[in-house]
Amino acid sequence: MGVPFKADELFLDMTNKTMPYAIELRDISKRFGAVQANKDICLQIPAGTIHGIIGENGAGKSTLMSIIYGFYEADTGYIEVDGKRVDIRSSQDAINAGIGMVHQHFMLVENFSVLENVILGAEGGTLLKGGINTARVELQRLAQEYSLDIDVDAIVEELPVGLQQRVEILKALYRGARILILDEPTGVLTPQEADHLFRILKALKEQGVTVLLITHKLREIMASTDNVSVMRQGQMVADRETVKTNKEELAELMVGKKVRLTVDKDDAEPSQVLLSARNLSQFDEQGVKRLKNINLELRAGEIVGIAGVSGNGQSELLNVLSGIEPMSEGEIHIADQVITSKNPKDAAQMRDLKMAHVPEDRHKMGLVTGFEAYEAAVLGYHNSKTYNGKILMHRKVMIDECNERMAAWDVRPPNPHLKTANFSGGNQQKIVIAREVEQNPDILLIGQPTRGVDIGAIENIHEQIVKLRDAGKAILLVSVELDEIMALSDRIIVMFDGAIVGELDAKDADERTLGLMMANAYNEEKEGESA
């Protein structure tokens, strides 16, 4: 780790001697509370190359880049630029060291003109006039040199996203950046805009600019980078020359091979369809299609796992199916009912149709953390007759029931009066899952059931899910943990960019295939093999 190239590779060895690395990271570590975001990161990037950094969401890529850009300070380790150690304590230090960054969420003042945004922080004098004129000339030069045409007097919020990103690049170049970091630059772009961006990056590289490209998209890495480093769970796990690696290897490195979870279960015996979604689509407020024509069926007695890199529409799917958010198009068939955008049902009505939902984020959606456990244990069912008298709620019934469940699910400490915030993650999750499962639903939607849950609790939760299946329930499992998907599911559906891109029987699934599908590279790969 740390040294990306073998010493016997003559050419690179020469580069190493004659030219210092554009940027070199030494043992960078960063911790946020209990989360180790970066651990002992070493990285060497030769000048004038495009270097990709790839990893799943949450692998620590963005944190690392924020450290290089001076947004966070590393706990340990240091950075060298052009062979000289630099202390980067603020963004100003990074700018002075010739580092520029294009953030995932643009750092632009939306009601400013392009010119004003470009000169902000580099005004070149107390009065704006001089700086504006200098910038106008300089931007024209940059536009010609790198084909970065833009109307410099346009107001940023009126520009399309692709052009806003161009403003960010211009901002960095205007400050004389020789090292340009792009954090997930194509996430918001159309394919055409993305292609244009990569042409710009090539032009920058020809001018000697070093580019760091952060992404979780394999295609972009293969198409545009010279070298690639892979991050996983806060660590740099591999460095490769792009021409000497391939998508499969990268996908495997990205996802990683973890200790195999085993769940004892018999083969599924799926029977009648309990829920079917037809042509389900959803648009967000900006009009971007987040769910694209989803078709899926859930049968009694099976667990269907949804795999995918997080942020590819899984959350939206759960929200639409559970009634939290309305769908834009399509229909859901459940218990003789047809739900469409004109005939929507909210989350409470879906619960009445015997569909239970364990949300992905238990803190935001699953619990009220200030509530005592027995109160949190009835959320969503709090209007049920069981818990309510004419005016007051039956506290005793709620507390007794909570006591029973805590015993049955081994919640620790078994105290119904403890605030839910004070339970550990695993025990909070048990409270949520118990609440949903004990209502004896026909369908259970369950998102990230074991996120932040310790190993012992994971086994317990997995057993309960399988037990529910064996009782003839239909279960839809969404998880970013491939191990979990593979261990629990009977059938696996892969989502990418809001659409279903593949479906496998769990018996045929392996990490490599799923990894490729999750990166939407499976079909290309197969075409490549057959050609």
């Binding site: 946020f32 850009y69 947004f71 966070y72 603020s90 963004s91 100003q92 230090d93 990074a94 700018i95 960054m101 953030h103 750092m107 632009l108 003042v109 939306e110 009601n111 400013f112 004003e116 945004n117 000169i119 902000l120 922080g121 580099a122 005004e123 004098g125 107390t126 009065l127 704006l128 006039k129 700086g131 901002k171």
Partner: protein, 322 residues
């Protein structure tokens, strides 16, 4: 009729002056992203400090200096709470207003034993009217003479300063580096931070300017418009200024016009007292005095939908996760 109008406009200028200072103070603060409901408290605090210092030292200018000091100190307390400790802007502002309302009266009773007032100021301890050159000579010229000698001449220096501050503010906000950064930090502090500029320092500087302007507004009330400090003499001017700021959409010239409108209504209210309107009879004083406030509510209710302030206003700046 013409003379009446000129006299009312003349009064409008006097009444508007503290509003203009305070609204511009609010403009600097809010453009930088800090909600300042404490304008009221700063005006009152400064009015007391200015009157007290002027009474003791016998100089209106020294009074003005103390007024500004008091107001800037209050602004720094607001900054310490809102910028350094990321507190709630409204809570901090209300706290300042409450403390000042009590503290000014308490201190003045302790120091001057005059039932919460300060000694009446006279001579150099007040800002007196300035007669512009040739005002008397031109007084008899029709129309122009009246406008020049009555409306333009005969105000104290702070009135002229208030009107001069509008183009100055405009210039600072739109034409200088500081102004660009100030506007940016109120819209998107992250953009400012990533450009290598300190968000906190920028906001503190905006609050210092805010404090200075509020200080002048307060000093004007107690040492120019009146001749001493009275309990609660700011009488909601800080809130009116805030309303004018929103009404003027955080831009200097429209804010000036809003202040003048509110000032004019105030002048009308004073003028209408005791006037008998045919068919209605004498209008009760209270009904007229309430006019500016009713209009403020109506205007704000009608225009608030279109008045979009600086995007980041009132939100403490926190780096993600840090």
């Amino acid at each position: 009729m013409f003379e009446t109008l000129i006299l009312m406009l003349d009064a409008t200028m006097r009444v508007s002056t503290p509003l203009i200072f305070a609204a511009l103070a609010g403009l600097f603060s809010e453009r930088a992203g800090i909600v300042d409901i404490g304008l009221e408290g700063k005006i009152l605090g400064s009015a007391f400090a200015a009157a007290a210092a002027a009474a003791i030292f016998g100089s209106a200018w020294i009074g003005l200096g103390f007024g500004i000091l008091a107001s800037v100190a209050l602004a720094m307390i607001h900054g310490f709470a809102c910028i350094t400790h990321r507190g709630d802007h409204i809570v901090s502002g209300v706290a300042i207003n409450t403390i000042v309302a009590g503290l000014t009266v308490t201190l003045s009773m302790y120091w001057f034993s005059m039932g919460g007032q300060t000694p009446t100021l006279s001579g150099d301890a007040r800002f007196l009217s300035i007669t512009l050159p040739f005002a008397n000579a031109l007084a008899d010229v029709p129309v122009i003479g009246l406008i020049y000698s009555e409306l333009l001449s005969g105000h104290n220096i702070l009135v002229y300063l208030a009107f001069a501050m509008v183009p100055v503010t405009s210039w600072i906000i739109y034409k200088t580096r500081f102004g660009l950064r100030l506007r940016a930090v109120g819209e998107n502090p992250h953009a400012v931070d990533t450009a290598g500029i300190s968000v906190a320092f920028l906001r503190y500087r905006a609050l210092i300017i805010c404090g200075i302007l509020c200080g002048i507004a307060g000093a004007y009330l107690s040492t120019a418009h009146n001749a001493g400090f009275l309990k609660d003499m700011s009488a909601g001017k800080g809130y009116m200024a805030l309303a004018a700021l929103i009404f003027g959409k955080w831009r200097p010239v429209p804010v000036l016009l809003a202040c003048l409108l509110f000032g004019f209504l105030d002048a009308v209210a004073i003028r209408m007292q005791g006037v008998v309107i045919p068919g209605i009879g004498e209008v009760p004083v209270q009904a007229i005095e309430v006019l500016p406030y009713v209009l403020t509510v109506l205007l704000l209710a009608g225009f608030i939908g279109k008045a979009i302030g600086p995007k980041a206003v009132g939100r403490p700046y926190v780096k993600e996760r840090a």
